[in-house]
């Protein structure tokens, strides 16, 4: 080929490429074949190896397939180590997907580590959650009888090295409001969303709208991480000067990398949206559309004629959790909130109330030798304050099979900690109604608690040469079992970041943020996004949006809890009045120095109780209170972020929570890091420092105070329980004084009525 021909072909190719690039800026995603892989541990509640024991050990886990993709196939790569005493010809691992067998391998006792690859065809995969079951058949003899639970019968699956990969292609968005729940959940990775602002001025209303959107999205995502991107958008037209946009929406495609929510009044959005949508906005408006250039992502328009209508629309968005309406757009006329103040968020319990297990999400459960655990969650109010002896009572309705060994038990654990056992000792089996179990209230944590029932069921007959019947190893726990909470008070010691992490208390109480004001310290998108992150995270605990939240950039009422979030202006250091850490030209930080140690002497009564009942734990260890040394210096946060909580000045019983960074446009990424399970669960004390490498540091500085429902009685109970000598110091003088007064009164009475009677 001549050089000129080669040059022509090159130019032609270049032309064609540029032409195609200009006309189709984003390739059609549906044509892209994508793949994503995760370690198996990603789908497990705990990061630990998976051990399959006994003759027929098995393990089930679920992995999601998003409704927004079309699965093409899946690949399961298992890294297996099995007992070297297994009999090769009788030992195998079988893989099931949604109860279909998709593969099997022999378990070779010679191999040190076996790698097995299973390809799962798309026919086996369904949108939503798919059940992956790993079952083994393990034997150590070929023909002789054997012990089914022999300890050498094991296979270990390395859940970090083992992976599950999904091959898929993305699907175009189903632009219906009824599809919102499935759209806002790609189940494969972090979910990203752009919140688009049409107005340069950031109003408090806009902050509220965005916060509602953030909460709505987070509540749909549940545990899937959310990534927000707040942007100012301006009408965007093609660069050719024609004044035309590249699609229906006059938006810069560069700003539409993810799903997007366009927020604003009709007037604010007027130049950004097509005329027909503009025309359709006659009230509180919600409309969902495919993005012009990327049909796999949507743009959600939330608007209205007035700010109030936009507010109504965002609230409706938060409430649209059902597959209704089946329409692309809607005008919300009324949102009729219940006017009863005594409503509570899902799975929250109240003192002095009894709940059936079914009401707490626990249906009838049957446990056997393989599926041996059933559990449910209970949300304990953060400020539930009970005395040591108050008990949570469980009345279990249960049945168990006959012919079990006497040491078969149901272990009851609370938050992973063994608490109680029920021995299943009736050879003929039994059906119990109201089997009574008590757990001290103080064993429950504030916030989410998991009550688990795990059965340890053993057959009554066992032996090497015996057929072991295990179908009788059954326990049923019925959903009409009840759990009763004692009548206790509402009191909590603040500030406490751990309590915030566990319960969102005190910023959001029972799904309400009415007692809190969120103040964004600067008008950067980064700080706004950080505030929305926080609000969404706190609301997620209650699984309900906080409709009554207050978010502002300006002044706020001082009779509320305050959240300060953003980058602190050097001119406005006063907002940190009363804080344990100061930032600015000079920063102040309390460094740990020494600690005050006080041996907790075991009171005689506790000793006696321990000796008699043999139930209480050992005496308390030494109480160590850190004594910090604050240092004032010129250097500050740098790349780190600070979260601190302290009593709001004014002694009104409120707290201030400050989330601060020293750099622009970094706090939102810091918040994403903070909300990672590894970091969020480490919140403690009232000062918490972290960086994007997930290094963290916490400490306590300053005094705590009690908060409750203004109940003096509870305050006193809690205070005197913690300060017994103060109790004595109050009671004793009062008793002496009253005795003296009575004595004087009696003497006076005697003098008046028995003047002639000598003492």
């Amino acid at each position: 080929m001549s050089k000129s021909l080669r040059n022509c072909l090159f130019l032609l190719s270049l032309f064609l490429f540029v032409d195609s690039a200009l006309s189709m800026p984003v390739p059609v995603a549906s044509e892209q074949k994508l793949s994503k892989s995760w370690p198996l541990s990603h789908f497990m509640s705990e990061d630990k190896p998976l051990m399959l024991k006994s003759v027929d050990g098995s393990y089930n886990l679920s992995f999601p397939v998003s409704e927004r993709v079309n699965p093409l196939s899946a690949e399961l790569n298992l890294v297996i180590t099995n007992s070297n005493l297994l009999h090769e010809n009788r030992s195998q691992l079988v893989v099931y997907i949604n109860n279909y067998i998709v593969g099997q391998i022999k378990l070779n006792p010679v191999n040190k580590e076996t790698q097995a690859k299973f390809v799962i065809d798309k026919e086996y995969l369904i949108p939503g959650y798919n059940q992956l079951s790993l079952k083994v058949a393990q034997h150590y003899t070929e023909t002789q009888c054997e012990d089914w639970s022999s300890p050498e019968l094991w296979t270990n699956i390395n859940t970090e090295k083992s992976t599950l990969a999904l091959n898929y292609e993305e699907l175009p968005v189903n632009a219906k409001l009824s599809a919102l729940n499935s759209l806002i959940n790609n189940r494969l990775d972090n979910y990203s969303l752009s919140i688009l602002r049409a107005n340069e001025t950031i109003s408090d209303d806009y902050l509220y709208w965005g916060a509602m959107v953030a909460q709505s999205v987070k509540l749909r995502l549940k545990h899937v991480p959310m990534k927000l991107d707040e942007q100012l958008v301006k009408p965007y037209y093609m660069a050719d000067g024609s004044g035309k946009s590249s699609g229906r929406f006059n938006l810069n495609p560069e700003q539409l990398k993810h799903d997007a929510v366009l927020l604003g009044t009709k007037e604010q959005l007027g130049q950004l949206i097509p005329a027909e949508i503009n025309k359709a906005i006659t009230g509180a408006y919600l409309g969902i559309f495919q993005q012009d250039q990327d049909k796999n992502h949507f743009i959600l328009v939330i608007s209205g004629n007035t700010n109030q209508e936009v507010k109504k629309a965002v609230q409706s968005f938060a409430l649209f959790t059902a597959i209704f309406p089946d329409a692309q757009e809607t005008i919300v006329d009324q949102v009729m909130f219940p006017d009863n103040a005594e409503i509570y968020s899902h799975q929250s319990i109240l003192p002095d109330h009894t709940y059936q297990f079914a009401q707490l999400g626990f249906g009838n459960k049957s446990l056997n030798a393989v599926n041996s655990e059933a559990k449910f969650d209970i949300r304990i109010p953060a400020d539930l304050y009970g005395t040591e002896d108050q008990l949570v009572k469980i009345h279990l309705n249960l049945a168990y099979g006959a012919g079990m060994r006497k040491d078969s038990v149901i272990n009851i654990s609370l938050n992973g900690l063994f608490n109680h056992a029920i021995q299943l000792k009736e050879q003929e089996g039994a059906h119990y109604r109201n089997y009574h179990i008590t757990i001290p209230l103080r064993s429950f944590n504030a916030g989410l608690n998991t009550l688990a029932f795990s059965s340890v069921l053993k057959p009554s007959e066992s032996g090497e040469c015996m057929y072991v019947q295990r179908d009788n190893l059954l326990v049923s726990i019925y959903e009409d079992s009840t759990i009763s909470f004692p009548d206790v008070g509402r009191e909590a010691a603040l500030p406490d970041l751990q309590l915030l992490e566990q319960t969102s208390f005190p910023l959001i109480k029972n799904g309400s943020a009415g007692e809190t004001v969120f103040r964004v310290l600067d008008n950067s998108s980064d700080s706004i996004t950080a505030a929305w992150y926080l609000i969404a995270k706190l609301a997620a605990y209650f699984e309900t949006p906080a409709f009554d939240l207050n978010i502002t950039q300006g002044k706020y009422s001082d009779d509320k809890n305050v959240v300060l979030i953003g980058k602190l202006s050097p001119d406005d250091q006063s907002v940190l009045e009363g804080s344990p850490v100061k930032l600015g030209v000079l920063s102040k930080f309390p460094y740990q120095f020494k600690e005050q140690q006080q041996q907790q002497k075991e009171p005689f009564w506790e000793w006696l109780d321990r000796v008699v009942s043999d139930q209480n734990p050992s005496p308390l260890p030494t109480a160590i209170t850190p004594k910090n040394v604050p240092i004032v210096q010129t250097a500050g946060l740098g790349d780190e972020f600070l979260m601190m909580s302290y009593p709001t000045p004014g002694d009104k019983g409120y707290v201030t929570l400050a989330l601060l960074s020293d750099k622009n446009n970094s706090l939102s990424s810091g918040m994403e890091t903070l909300f990672s399970p590894q970091l969020w669960s480490q919140l403690k004390g009232n000062i918490f420092l972290w960086d994007n490498q997930k290094k963290f540091y916490w400490q306590q500085e300053g005094e705590t105070f009690l908060t409750g429902h203004g109940n003096t009685r509870l305050d006193m109970i809690m205070y005197f329980s913690k300060h017994p000598w103060h109790w004595l110091a109050l009671i004793l003088p009062m008793l002496l004084l009253i005795a003296w007064l009575i004595h004087k009164s009696l003497a006076k009475y005697k003098k008046q009525t028995h003047p002639r009677v000598d003492e």
């Binding site: 000598w725 003296w740 003497a747």
Partner: protein
């Protein structure tokens, strides 16, 4: 402005009261705070330590008030905890048991607070001396109502009344015989009729001899109150001394009591304690008489002085003087209930009259000798006081002062103890036997709430009544009565008009030891408790989780077992041969022997010469040695002796020297110095025994005529200082722990003795059947 000034003045004047009320409210509020175990443990230990420290301080002032204040706080905290945290519904039957136990405890708590109110500041009045001008002394009628008491018993009281030292023109004595009414004398039952007639004749003769007016009436209407009211028509003295037929007054009774009426014209009652010269069945059968304070001491030495402080000491039916004018004001003695005494008192208190209580024993009386009589007496009291609560409820009685209302309420509510006691007996079994959850507490709570509460109950009771009531004695008495009184109280609650006055039998004799026929309910209770204790041991091994609670309940059952055993001990009736109880004394005297020159030792001839038989019922030999003035003393010998006990029948004397044998011509006397004069009482020696370095002789008083009888009665019953000494001697306090262990030992030994006797008799019967 004027109003403001008035308000300020009132506030200033009442500032102490207001402050007290404010602090009281604060303390009540604080007592309800449910602090953690440690804090509660600290306060319990501290307050108990303070109570233990205050205990030895003998003070009726600040320390006593402080003691009851501290203990009240612990009790308040206990009930606050009980009410708030332990009344948990588990199942229907458990809840019933739980509520019953709680109500029994509430009753106990209420009685605790009422008791400390009543006893916070007892006063001890001294007798008011009479003016020297005897003409200004008021006239007194001594009235002695009787019904069916033995004549010999009435005779002692009449003689003692005759001996009372008061100007004769101003003193009249009346026997109000309800056993000789026309109704009784015409009884359709021949035996009763004849018995009433004979008794009536004897009493009339006796009254004539003693110069006592015999009064009776047509019908026995309104029992004792009716009898008293009937007498009011015939008597007209300014004051009335009421004496039961078995209450022999001391000679100085009027001189000690009348002064109060002269001193204060608003006084309607001067009550004195009932001093008893014989043991009640509990004391007798458990051999406790004079080893510990008598049961009645708690009321007469402890509670009545406390009531007196609040002007609420009340009439106890006898040993009291009442102002006639006051009695007339309410139309006589009240008889709507069968305890006319307290009923009359509450009505007079509500009219503004005052009562005094003088803690000075001025009568010597008899207690019921057998358990049956004891129960009859107590059931009457219980029924009468419950009737009073219904008909004369102090909460609604007009014009009573608040303190008086509380005092009367305390006295009346006390008689509901059988309900609480029964619950306390049954309760341990409900848990150990039936597994009912009637007390919701863990072992820690038990130690920091229940144990301090129980300790405070014992400590406070001991502190307030340390010299008048030993530990566990109240519990045993209550257990003894509970199973019978509960029916009596229930009967009143069902029909308040139903109860009839039952006279307590006195001067009963038992020829041999026997098991009281009322024992059976206690066998059931004992069997139940024993079974519960056995079940407790079984439960302990079966339910390891419940061991602390089982242990506590097991010990509770053991305590009940002890109380029931002690009760059984009291139901093992010991023989009672003496009609006249021996009174322990320590009187220096002389054995006096007189040999006469003209002596005729033939009794019949002697009597013939005298031409009369003073008392045909007296044994011949007693009259044979009558002391006459006509004889001439030839030889007189004196040997110092000490009289150790006396009764109307005789006594025992201790001598360092052996007393010579009595010759025919010899008369023996006991010579006692009484003030400035020497009194000689003719006696005969009935037995003798040498013990260690001294000799003990039994003597019998010999009397020939009524004057001698009066003299001996005066010697035996007339000296109130003797009762005072016995009162003081028995007021001993060995300490809480020692008295507790003592009662445990006594209870076990006598209870098992009872069981042993029952089993022995059962096996005897069994052997008789089969052999």
């Amino acid at each position: 402005m004027k109003n403001f000034v008035i308000i300020v003045e009132i506030v200033k004047e009442k500032s102490g009261l207001l402050l007290s009320l404010l602090i009281l409210l604060c303390l009540v509020y604080l007592s309800g705070l449910r602090v953690d175990f440690n804090t509660q443990a600290y306060i319990s230990v501290l307050l108990l330590t303070l109570l233990m420290s205050i205990r030895p301080i003998k003070s009726l002032g600040f320390w006593r008030v402080l003691f009851v204040t501290l203990s009240s706080f612990i009790v308040l905290r206990y009930f606050s905890w009980r009410m708030t945290y332990t009344l948990v519904y588990e199942d229907f039957f458990s809840y019933i048991g739980l509520i019953a136990l709680f109500l029994a405890e509430v009753y106990g708590g209420l009685m605790f607070f009422l008791s400390i109110f009543v006893n916070i500041r007892p006063i001890h009045r001294t007798p008011v001396p009479l003016p020297s001008d005897k003409s200004s002394w008021p006239s007194v009628d001594i009235i002695i109502p009787c019904y069916n008491e033995p004549v010999d018993l009435v005779k002692i009281t009449l003689a003692a009344a005759r001996n009372v030292d008061y100007p004769a023109p101003k003193l009249n004595i009346y026997l109000l015989d309800d056993g000789g009414t026309a109704e009784k004398l015409n009884s359709p039952d021949e035996k009763s009729r004849e018995s009433a007639l004979a008794r009536s004749l004897q009493l009339k003769r006796l009254c004539k001899q003693l110069n006592v007016s015999y009064l009776t009436r047509t019908e026995n209407v309104n029992a004792k109150a009716g009898n008293l009211n009937s007498a009011l028509k015939h008597i007209n003295g300014d004051l009335i001394l009421v004496l039961d037929a078995d209450h022999a007054p001391a000679v100085d009774i009027l001189k000690k009591l009348v002064g109060s009426f002269i001193q204060d014209e608003k006084v309607f009652l001067v009550q004195t304690p009932h001093f008893f010269i014989n043991p009640d069945p509990f004391e007798k059968n458990l051999n406790l008489y004079h080893r510990m304070p008598s049961e009645s001491d708690m009321f007469y030495k402890g509670i009545q002085p406390g009531l007196d402080f609040w002007h609420a000491s009340f009439f106890c039916g006898s040993a009291a003087i009442l102002r006639r004018k006051a009695i007339d004001e309410i139309g006589g003695f009240s008889g709507k209930t069968i305890t006319e005494d307290s009923e009359t008192a509450i009505k007079l208190h509500s009219k503004g009259w005052k009562s005094h209580y003088i803690l000075y024993p001025l009568i010597s009386g008899l207690q019921p000798e057998t358990f049956d009589s004891f129960i009859i007496q107590r059931m009457r009291w219980a029924q009468g006081m419950v009737q009073n609560l219904i008909f004369n409820n102090p909460l609604f009685m007009p014009n009573l002062k608040l303190a008086q209302r509380i005092c009367y309420l305390s006295n009346m509510l006390f008689w509901f103890f059988p309900f609480a006691r029964l619950v306390f007996i049954i309760s341990p079994g409900l848990f150990l036997f039936f597994g009912l959850k009637i007390y919701h507490a863990n072992i820690m709570e038990f130690f920091i709430y229940t144990v301090p509460f129980l300790a405070v109950l014992f400590l406070t009771s001991h502190y307030l009544f340390k010299n008048v009531r030993w530990a566990f004695v109240s519990e045993i008495y209550e257990t003894m009565q509970a199973l019978f009184s509960i029916r009596a109280v229930m009967a009143v609650l069902i029909n308040p008009h139903k109860p009839r006055f039952s006279v307590t039998p006195k001067m009963e004799r038992l020829d041999q030891d026997l098991i009281s026929p009322l024992s059976q309910p206690f066998y059931w209770a004992l069997g139940y408790t024993l079974l519960a204790a056995c079940f407790g041991i079984w439960r302990y091994s079966i339910f390891p989780d419940e061991r602390p609670l089982i242990t506590v309940t097991f010990f509770w059952a053991l305590l009940n077992l002890l109380l029931l055993l002690a009760t059984l001990g009291a139901l093992h009736e010991r023989r009672q041969r003496r009609a006249n109880p021996r009174i322990p004394v320590d009187i220096k005297a002389n054995w006096l022997s007189k040999t006469y020159s003209d002596t005729d030792s033939n009794p019949d001839a002697f009597n013939e010469r005298r031409g009369r038989r003073i008392n045909p019922r007296l044994p011949i030999q007693m009259e044979a040695s009558l002391f006459t003035e006509s004889t001439i003393v030839a030889v007189e010998k004196r040997i110092p002796v000490i009289i150790k006990d006396i009764s109307l029948g005789g006594g025992s004397i201790h001598s360092q020297l052996e007393l010579p044998n009595q010759h025919k011509a010899e008369k023996i006397f006991i010579e006692v110095r009484n003030g400035n004069r020497l009194d000689c009482y003719p006696v005969s020696i009935t037995n003798s025994v040498k013990k260690d370095d001294h000799y003990i002789y039994g003597v019998k008083f010999l009397y020939s005529d009524l004057n001698d009888y009066l003299k001996i009665v005066r010697f035996i019953h007339g000296d109130s200082s003797r009762w005072v000494k016995i009162y003081e001697d028995t007021a001993n306090d060995p300490g809480l722990t020692r008295s507790m262990f003592f009662m445990v030992r006594i209870g076990f030994s006598h209870g098992f003795s009872h069981i042993f006797v029952v089993l022995k008799s059962y096996f005897k019967k069994l052997v008789n059947v089969y052999v």
